[in-house]
């Protein structure tokens, strides 16, 4: 509990720094557990308000329950929702059968890059966590992207004493990662502590499976689990030695490293 509050205090501090320093700021919201916790933290930071738009990059392959949930919270929490979609790629028939990395790059990475270019965002807040997979462990809280949205992980600025990189050349933008220090268990513990509404695809409804990580329908698979409540999820996670994203197809091989270098979330 004390540790969760410390994580919360740090994330809130980061969100407030982002809001102070970036005139054109937006937050990515995929409706998954992490970005929803992030959204909740924004409400904490700004005392019930969310003073920047929330971006959803819609690949058109999302699970329908996620869209319903998105629209309900947007209404109840008075969110400014901005939906991005790579319509050209979809019109040309882009789908996962053309290759997962190809599809993710077209629909997610490029969908986001197009939206950033169109809206001129200079700061994008994301719910990336360091424990998710190897490349994310190397991230900074404030991580610069060059003109092409690429990430140069060798030349990252130092981050010390909560002084973040908030100045940058024209044409580049900064990715902001307030959840970097959180683990998967922390996320669920916090959802429980704060009673945050989440999509019930994360729970087992009797067939002995549930989703541990949510993405597009064709590339996300449920795991075997009988967890029917947040408590049971936490209990299960404390015992597992299986990686969280094992149900996410794009992590296979060098997929994630290639994707993230090019600006994937």
């Amino acid at each position: 509990m004390k540790h969760l509050r410390q994580l919360e205090d740090q994330s809130v501090y980061i969100l407030r720094e982002a809001y102070k320093h970036f005139d054109n700021l937006a937050m990515l919201w995929s409706m998954g557990k992490d970005s929803t916790v992030l959204l909740w933290l924004a409400r904490k930071a700004f005392f019930g308000h969310v003073p920047f738009p929330l971006i959803h990059i819609d690949t058109s392959y999302k699970i329908p329950a996620m869209i319903e949930y998105r629209d309900r919270l947007a209404r109840e929490w008075r969110l400014n929702l901005v939906i991005g979609q790579n319509k050209d790629a979809l019109a040309n028939g882009m789908n996962h059968q053309l290759g997962r990395v190809v599809c993710c790059t077209a629909l997610k990475t490029n969908g986001l890059k197009n939206l950033i270019a169109e809206k001129g965002y200079t700061g994008i807040i994301l719910g990336v966590r360091a424990d998710e997979e190897g490349t994310r462990a190397k991230e900074r809280y404030f991580s610069p992207r060059d003109k092409h949205g690429d990430w140069d992980f060798r030349e990252q600025p130092p981050e010390l004493w909560d002084q973040f990189k908030t100045t940058f050349p024209e044409g580049t933008h900064i990715r902001i990662h307030p959840l970097l220090d959180w683990t998967e268990i922390n996320i669920w513990e916090y959802i429980k502590l704060e009673n945050i509404p989440f999509i019930d695809l994360y729970l087992d409804h009797g067939d002995g499976t549930r989703y541990r990580s949510l993405g597009c329908a064709p590339c996300t698979f449920p795991i075997k689990s009988s967890a029917r409540s947040v408590d049971e999820i936490i209990e299960e996670l404390r015992q597992t030695t299986v990686a969280e994203r094992s149900g996410r197809a794009q992590d296979e091989g060098r997929g994630m490293e290639l994707l993230r270098k090019d600006g994937y979330m």
């Binding site: 540790h3 919360e8 102070k20 005392f47 190397k138 004493w161 220090d181």
Partner: protein, 608 residues
Amino acid sequence: MTTALTAPSEHLNIVIVGHVDHGKSTLLGRLFADTGSLPEGKLDKVRSICRQQGKEFEYAFLFDAFLEEQEQGITIDTARTFFTWKGRQYIIIDAPGHKEFLKNMISGAARAEAALLLIDAQEGVKEQSKKHGYLLSLLGVRQVAVVVNKMDLVDYRQDVYKAIEREYREFLAQLKVTPERFVPASAKLGDNIVKQSPNMPWYSGPTALETLGLFRKETEREHQPLRFPVQDIYKFDARRIIAGRIASGMVKVGDRLVFSPSNKSANVKSIEWFNVEPAATEARAGQSTGIVLDEQIFIERGEVASLDDSVPLVSTTFRCNLFWMGKRPLETGRKYLLRLATREVECEVAAIHRIIDAGDLAARQTQTTVGRNEVAELTIRTKNPLALDLYSDFEVTGRFVLVDQYDVSGGGIITEGIRDEQTVWREEARRRDIAWVKGEVGPDNRAAQYGHRAALVLITGGRHTGKSFLARRLEVQLVADGRHAYLLDGENLRRGLDSDIVEGDAAEMVRRFGEVARLLMDTGLIVVSTTNTFGQADHQAIRTLVNPAPVIAVHMSKTEEEPPSHTDLVFAGPKDFDDAARQIIEELKRRGVLAHAIGAKPTFQYSI
């Protein structure tokens, strides 16, 4: 990757540092493998990859998340891994040791509460071992344990171990760092990592794993005096919330807060939260919170709130230790942005006292630049005063970074506050402001009634430039517009209030002038003044005494001379007095002193 069955009750950030190839990644891999903390199949997977590629298996591979890294064989960046043992979760920042990547190690170490420093038993104490030890002390990491690794390569000899321990202890002693302990080990073979080694019967102390367990959680900062750096002011709804993170101490509803450097003060009316029932009436060190005051005083990001019995120093000049990581060298005479807690001010290096070689702590010859990866003792001077503390007293408000171009390029800790020319005035103003007895009517009430705020218009210039005439014009114009304005001529004080002053005690005359101006402004007046008798330094003193009220400096001159610094308007006098008066009134509007329409409530957006 956590395998613990119960939630960890405590968390500790640790960093593993040391010369490149001394075994940091290997140690980390070992700790995970031997405590059963790896995800299922990970060990086998890495082993089989090694077999395929015909390489010898290395524990270090477990943490090399990037393929590029494995190609180069060096850890590139601060990777965080989590590891839980006996109810405590360790957040391990795997800082790299390669010389090029010092700034990453600093990013890691700046967050660490404790450090494990590795030394290769065969190679002994290297430059990096010393540099890292030095940086740990500079970054304020006070708990350090040393692992003497690769003992297998020196036949587990106690004398080799003892010699390294002695050498390194002596080095750390110069930094006033006392290591917690030394552990002889072999990360590769698992000696004294998780299990006591039979190969070194002469050592009966804790293993590397037990050493982690012996690190203490840092003592809480909440027992120190309050420091609350203002991060932002929010007005999303009816509340005007001062947001920030408490750096030390605690704050309660009803506390009287003093903000530095403006010296403004008000009481805490409420502490604001989201989704906290019932709302707590106090907040403590580490918490990100929001405060509503009982008075609408104008404060900005960067000020530091404290209680009046323990205020931070306010200065423009201080001495510090700084390490430089910038792409270009740090130079005297160049402007940098200084960031201390939430405050940002322009600064420059006033003096480089010495540059320290982190390897042997010897002072190099004084130079005018500090190179990348060097450490120096400096005096820094900022353009505007800021609230600060000594690092030995307060962590958060005692350290700062310098930004060169777009990047955070240096980090420093403050070792000494230096009195500048204004210190004496600043201290007088602060003592007086904190003790000032106020009536029920505050500046906001007056401003609402008068339709404007208080300000000082200071008109300077040589003889026969018409500055007195302009001052008169301005007073007439302001009063005709319905403003409360008053002409204060220095001469008037000389005959009355200053009549006891012996000729030549200019400082005392300046002081009295400043205090009278301050008093008149407290009544809500726009004070218009010509101060023939005072020089440039005196004007600065007057500004300091009336701070934070806005001062509009106007200079009249017949020639094309350089106006005094901080001048807002320059006129070629004596001519166009009506136009000059009009421009001054525009400037007063621009600074938020005058409401745009007479009688309307002004917006208080001026910045001093």
